[in-house]
Amino acid sequence: MELINQHTKQIMEGCKERAREAGLRFQDETLEYIVTNKDLLELTPKNMIPTLYDYWVHDVEVLREKGRYELYPNNPYETVINTRPAISFYNDNNPDWLNVMIFYHVLAHIDFFQNNLFFKDTWDEDFAGQALSDKRSIVMLRSEKGRWVDYVIEFSRAIDNLVGFYSELSEANAPPEIRASSKLDFYFDIFLQSIREVKLHEYLKEIDRYNDTLHQFGEVAESVFFSDVTRKYPEFEALFDKHKKREKESSKDLFQYLQENSPFLRKEENRWMNTILQIVRKTSLFFQPQIRTKILNEGWASYWHEKLFLRDDRIKGNEVAFARINALVTALPRVGINPYALGMRLFSHIEELADKGKLSYEFQRIRNARRREDFDKDTQEGSDRVFSVRDNYSDFTFINTFIDQDFVDRHKLFVVGRRLNQAKGVWEYFVQSRDAGQYKQMLLDALYHPPHVEINEAQTWENCLYLNHVFEGKPLVKEFIANTMLGISYLWGGTVKLETSEAEVEAREPVPTSPYYPPPPPAEKGHVFRRILYTMRDRKLTRTVL
C-alpha cells in the first residue's frame, strides 16, 4: 500500500477547504492510500484495517451468506476507516474528477464519524494504532499458549455481537448533572412510587419540599434533603445501595460479566485470556456505531458529494461523466434498498421540510392536503436541521422519524412482495404496498439488530451461568446455539443455560414477552412460541421446554 501522490493529495486539500466552507467539520490530517487487488485480498478479512490481529478464520473462505451482516457488525469493504488520522482507500487509476467526487464523499464520512454522537466513544481513539498493539499482544500470547489463543479468540468472537454498545454510549453521553442525581431518581421514580406507593398529593408535596430545600441550601441541598428522608424512612439508604449495585451489574454485557465473575477466567493460569476478551470486545464496540448508521452515513456522504461536486470550479467539463457515476450510485433501484439513494433523498426531504417550517407542530396539525402542500413559512432552517440530524440520529431514529407518506409518494417507493406462482413455476415479485407505515416497517426489519441476551443473576451461581434471551418476536438461529454456548461455557468454566423462545407446531399458551418490547407478531399458522431452556453441561447440549 502506498500513499496517493502529491498531485492527488493537493486535490484532496482543495476539497477539504471547500467542504469546510460548506459547514463540514473534521480533523485536518487524513491519510489516503492506493490499494491494489492484492491489498484488498489481505485487507477485506480484516475489515480494511491493516493492523488488525491475525486469526485463522481470516484465511478461510467465510461463507458469504446474505445474513452475514448479522454475524459481522462491519463492512468488509469499508473505504474510510474511523481512526485518527482517518484512513481512506483508492483505486490506482481514478481520473481526477472522480477522485474529487470520492474525496467529497469520504470527507462527509469523516465529518460524520467525528460529529455523530453514536461515535462518541471513538472520537479520541487512534484505532489503527491500538489494533497494532493488540495484534502484537496476540502474537506474543500465541507464542506461549499456541492454538489455545485461537480458541479463546473464537469463543470471544462468538459473543461479540452481544456487547453493550448502548450502555457504554449512554454513559458517555450523559451530562454530569443527570448522573449525579441517581439518588434523587431512585427516590422519586422508584422508592416513592413503587416501594412506598405514596398518594399523589404526598408525592407532589415531596417535590415541593425538594425544590424548597434546593432554594434554601443550594449546593448542599441534596444531602440536607436526604437527611430528612432517612429520618422518615430509615430503610432508604440500604435499599438505594442495593439498587445501585443491581443497576451496575445489569448494565454489564456478557464480556464484562465473564471477566469479573467467571471462576475459570479468575484462575491465575487463565488470566491471559482476559486480554483477548478485552481486545475482541473493544474491536466489536468500535464497529458498532458504523453498522447502526449505514443509511444515515451513506446518505449524508452522498448528499454532500453531489452538492459539493457541482459547486467545485476545478473540474468543469466532467458533468456528464459525473452524472453517470452519480446515478449508478444514488439511483433508487426498482427492487432492493440502496442506502445511498434512500439516505440522500431523506436528507433532502428533511432540508426541504425544514426550509418551509414543516417540521413543526403547527404543520402536523393540518389535515387538509391542499393546505399541507401550500404550507410555507419560509423559515430556512433546512441547513441547521440536517446538521442536527447528522449529530443526533442513528438509522433507526432517522427512518422512524422522517419516513412519511409524502416521502414515500414522492419517490414512488413501495414494499416488494414475493410469492410462488405454482402454475408458471416462477417466483413473482409484486408491488405489495405503498403505505408509508409498511415501508417503514420493512426498512426497520432490515436493520441490524442483534438479540438482547441478559444475565439472570438470580439463577446464576458459582457453577452455572443463566442467560436470558429477551424475546422480541424473532427466535435465534437454532443451528448456531450449540457452538456458541460451548464457547461461553468454556469461558465460564461450567454449566451455561440459555432461556429463549422457539416456534412450536402444537398450540400452547403464548409466551409473555417483556413489556419493554413490542408484542411479537402472531406466529405462522399453527405455530406458537414457547420458552425453551438450553443447557450446556460438560460440552453436551440438552433442550427442555419450560
Binding site: 461463507l63 473505504t79 456522504a301 427492487v335 414494499v415 416488494v416 456458541t484
Partner: protein
C-alpha cells in the same frame, strides 16, 4: 434451484452443493445491476459503488497450502474436545457434456446468537424488500424461475481431455477427504474385477521437445512455470507476455501411444425423483448427498467408476451428465418404479452385471403414486439379484413425523430390508438436514 431470500441453511448449501445457478438476488442483479433483498442494504459500499473495484480472488497457491493446514488444525480441535469447524464446500460448475467441475473450497462459519429471519418457503409472502417506480399495488413487476434449468440440456461431446481430468481429480480429492476426515468405511470387495484386455491407440502421451501435435495448454503451463522459476512472474501481478522466456524443453507434444484401457470396476446409478414435490430443499439434500457418494466411490475405486444418471417423475429417462441431473425439474407426478425399471433395462441391455460392481442410489421425497409399491418392489427385487448395494435416501418435508412416506412404508413392509440387509439400505432425513447428517447417512447407506 430454488433459494429463498434469507434462508441460512440454504446459503450454506449454496456453497456446499451449489451450482452455477444464481440465487434470486444475483438474478435480479444481472438484470439491473443492483442486488435485491432487504439484507442487501449492508452489501453496498464505496469501493465497489464508486470505484468499480472487485473483491480479489485468492490465488490457487494460497488455497492449496491452506487446505492441508486447515484440516490438520481441525483434527486438533477434535483432540481438544471441540467440534470441527472446517467444512469442505463444493461448488459444481456447469460444463458441457459431463465436463462440469467440482471445486473444493474450505469454508467455515462463525456461530453466534443471531435472530433467525428465515421464512418458510411456502409462507414467504411478507415484504421481502423495498422498491421504487411505477405500478399499482398487487401488480407483478418481475418473475424468476423457481428452478434454474427446465428440462435437460443436451451434452455435446467433450473437447480435449484436460477438463475431464480436472473434475475427476478434485472430486477424487473430495473422496479422499471424506474417507480420511470423516472416516467413512473402506469398501471390502474392491479391486476384484480389473481386466487388462483392451488396448487403444490414442494421441494421449506427452513428449517434451518433439512430437506430432503441439499441446498448447501444457506448453503454456511449462512456460509459466519456467518463468516463475526465473522470477519473471510473481504473485498476482499482471503477466507481461513479452518478457517471458521460452525454453525448447517447455514445448510439449502429443504422441501416438498404446493405452491399456482399464475396465471400470464400479457402475453407479444415480436415480432422482424430479417431480414437482421435490422442488427446493429435498432436491438439494439428495443432490448434495449424491455428490458426496460419487466423490467417495471415485476415491474408493481409484477413479475406475462409471456413472449413469436417471431422472424420473412418472417416466424415467437417462441424462448425460451430473449437471443436467442436478438442475432439471418438471412439475409432474411420481412413479418410483419407472426409474428402477430403467436401471434393469440398461443393465440387461449391456449385460453390465457380469463385469461391474453395481451401485444404485435413489433420492426421493417419499411420494409415490404407486402407493403400495406393487410396481416398485418387483423391480427392486430384480436389481437386488445382481447389485452390490441399493441406497435409498428419503428427504422428507419437515412438517409431520419422519418415516411416514409411501416409499418408506412399502419398502419396510416388503421385508426387503431384513431379507437383504447387506444389499439394500434406507435412510430418512429431514429436508433441512446438515452436512454432518448427510455424511452420517452415507455411512448408513454404504457400510
Amino acid at each position: 434451484m430454488n433459494r429463498e431470500i434469507s434462508d441460512l441453511e440454504e446459503r450454506i448449501k449454496e456453497e456446499e452443493a451449489g451450482s452455477g445457478h444464481t440465487a434470486p438476488e444475483h438474478r435480479i442483479e444481472e438484470e439491473d445491476g443492483r442486488p435485491l433483498g432487504a439484507a442487501s442494504l449492508y452489501l453496498w459500499n464505496d469501493l465497489f459503488a464508486f470505484q468499480a473495484m472487485q473483491p480479489g480472488e485468492g490465488t490457487s497457491i494460497h488455497h492449496l497450502s491452506a487446505l492441508e493446514e486447515l484440516l490438520e488444525r481441525d483434527k486438533l480441535r477434535e483432540k481438544d474436545g471441540f467440534p470441527r469447524k472446517i467444512r469442505i464446500g463444493r461448488l459444481v460448475k456447469p460444463g458441457k457434456g459431463g465436463k462440469e467441475k467440482i471445486i473444493l473450497v474450505p469454508t467455515t462459519v462463525e456461530e453466534k446468537f443471531i435472530h433467525d429471519t428465515r421464512k418458510k418457503e411456502e409462507e414467504e409472502k411478507g415484504g421481502s424488500s423495498g422498491g421504487s417506480g411505477e405500478g399499482q399495488e398487487g401488480e407483478v413487476i418481475g418473475e424468476e424461475p423457481v428452478h434454474g434449468t427446465e428440462g435437460a440440456g443436451t451434452g455435446g461431446s467433450g473437447q480435449g481431455e484436460g477438463d475431464g481430468h480436472e473434475i475427476q481429480s478434485s472430486a477424487y480429492d473430495l473422496g479422499r477427504i471424506l474417507s480420511e476426515k470423516f472416516e467413512l468405511p473402506n469398501l471390502k470387495d474392491k479391486g476384484k474385477k480389473r481386466s487388462l484386455t483392451r488396448y487403444t491407440y490414442d494421441l494421449t502421451d506427452r513428449h517434451k521437445g518433439s512430437g506430432q501435435l503441439l499441446d498448447k495448454k501444457a506448453t503454456l503451463r511449462n512456460i509459466i512455470e519456467t518463468n516463475i522459476g526465473l522470477g519473471n512472474i510473481n504473485g498476482s501481478d499482471e503477466i507481461d507476455p513479452s518478457r517471458l522466456l521460452v525454453s525448447p524443453s517447455d514445448k510439449v507434444y502429443r504422441i501416438l501411444s498404446k493405452e491399456k484401457d482399464y475396465e471400470s470396476q464400479a457402475m453407479v446409478f444415480f436415480l432422482r425423483d424430479y417431480s414437482g414435490s421435490m422442488t427446493g430443499k429435498p432436491t438439494e439434500v439428495v443432490v448434495a448427498q449424491h455428490v458426496l457418494i460419487y466423490s467417495w466411490l471415485l476415491f474408493q475405486y481409484e477413479k475406475q467408476v462409471e456413472t449413469r444418471f436417471i431422472l424420473h417423475d412418472t417416466d424415467a429417462k437417462e441424462v448425460p451428465d451430473f449437471y443436467t441431473y442436478y438442475s432439471s425439474s418438471v412439475a409432474g407426478g411420481t412413479r418410483v418404479g419407472s426409474a428402477y425399471r430403467l436401471v434393469n433395462e440398461i443393465v440387461e441391455a449391456s449385460s453390465l452385471a457380469r463385469d461391474y460392481n453395481i451401485y444404485v442410489f435413489h433420492g426421493t421425497d417419499g411420494d409415490d403414486w404407486d402407493s403400495d409399491g406393487s410396481q416398485t418392489i418387483p423391480e427392486i427385487k430384480k436389481i437386488l439379484a445382481y447389485c452390490n448395494r441399493i441406497g435409498v435416501t428419503v428427504a422428507e418435508r419437515s412438517s409431520g413425523k419422519l418415516g411416514n412416506t409411501a416409499v418408506e412404508r412399502y419398502i419396510r413392509k416388503s421385508g426387503l430390508l431384513d431379507e437383504y440387509p447387506k444389499q439394500i439400505r434406507l435412510d430418512t432425513v429431514d429436508e433441512g438436514t446438515t452436512e454432518g447428517r448427510l455424511i452420517e447417512g452415507i455411512r448408513k447407506l454404504l457400510s
